[in-house]
Symmetry: C2
Subunit: 141 residues, 2 copies
DNA sequence: ACAATATATTTGTTGTACTAATTATTATTA
DNA sequence: TAATAATAATTAGTACAACAAATATATTGT
């Protein structure tokens, strides 16, 4: 029972390094965006005009965190909050022209940065990792 | 090249949930400690009286983060900073009696909590996960 | 011994995570 | 319809993460 305890440290330090590496490369390429902000930008490009709850679900952020990420992205004119026509409590998050433009500019470069971690691994490794992580995720829900 | 991009979100959300689950269970068991503080406590039990640099390396924290974690642990009397006899710049981090006591009390319960994620997975899965995560970690060093 | 350099830790700043509490609005139901 | 509950988003407080810069002490090369 004890022997598997180490996976949590392993997971923690790996995901930290993945994020850190991406952030460092973002900076080198002068992206002027954080990794978490990028995640939101990418999701919005796949499906624009979502409310914050949907967006929080998709990006795996909780509501307060997403609120602050969006605050920062609004300041940078990447997204804007628009009143929802059918529910006056909620906002529609809308990707601006600048946001769209940046997203298109950055996507291929980000893919390249992400691929770096996969240089010494195989397709099967990817499938295994996906399965194992999802199993862990579900076990703790 | 693009298809592997998703691993980063997967890693991020899984490690987040692992931490979140442990923290929730810690609270339920009234441990009065954070997951990150626990990691430090456990490492100190394996080898007491390390300086902050060694401890930072082992726990995967950077130095400023560790400084702040130790500040909180000192306040709780779990550890204490002692002057190093051979280097006046550095501190020896010493597990107190209370720290030792708590560590022993909590270890078996924490192992049980950690094992929860592994219920539906095998020994081979564990080896695979370890190998893949370490490969990613090394690729980005 | 002196200057340059390296090491150990702290401080400051910005961003993210989680909890709890708050406000505003919508939905339920008695 | 009035009271109650649920939902969307925000705010406040505490903890952690990454980076840069500051401080103090050690080490190295000359």
């Amino acid at each position: 029972m004890e022997k598997y305890g180490a996976y949590s440290l392993l997971l923690d330090r790996t995901s930290k390094r993945v994020k850190q590496y991406a952030q460092k490369r973002f900076k080198e390429e002068n992206f002027d965006i954080t990794v978490d902000q990028w995640l939101v930008l990418k999701n919005l490009n796949d499906q624009n005009d979502q409310n914050q709850s949907q967006l929080a679900e998709l990006t795996g952020k909780d509501h307060p965190t997403l609120t602050r990420i969006l605050d920062l992205m609004c300041k940078k004119n990447l997204v804007e909050r628009k009143a929802s026509p059918e529910d006056r409590r909620s906002f529609i998050i809308h990707l601006t022209e600048l946001g769209k433009q940046k997203q298109e500019e950055w996507v291929p470069k980000v893919d390249k940065i992400r691929a770096k971690a996969w240089e010494s691994l195989t397709e099967k490794d990817y499938q295994d990792l996906k399965r194992i992580l999802n199993t862990i995720y579900e076990s703790l829900s």
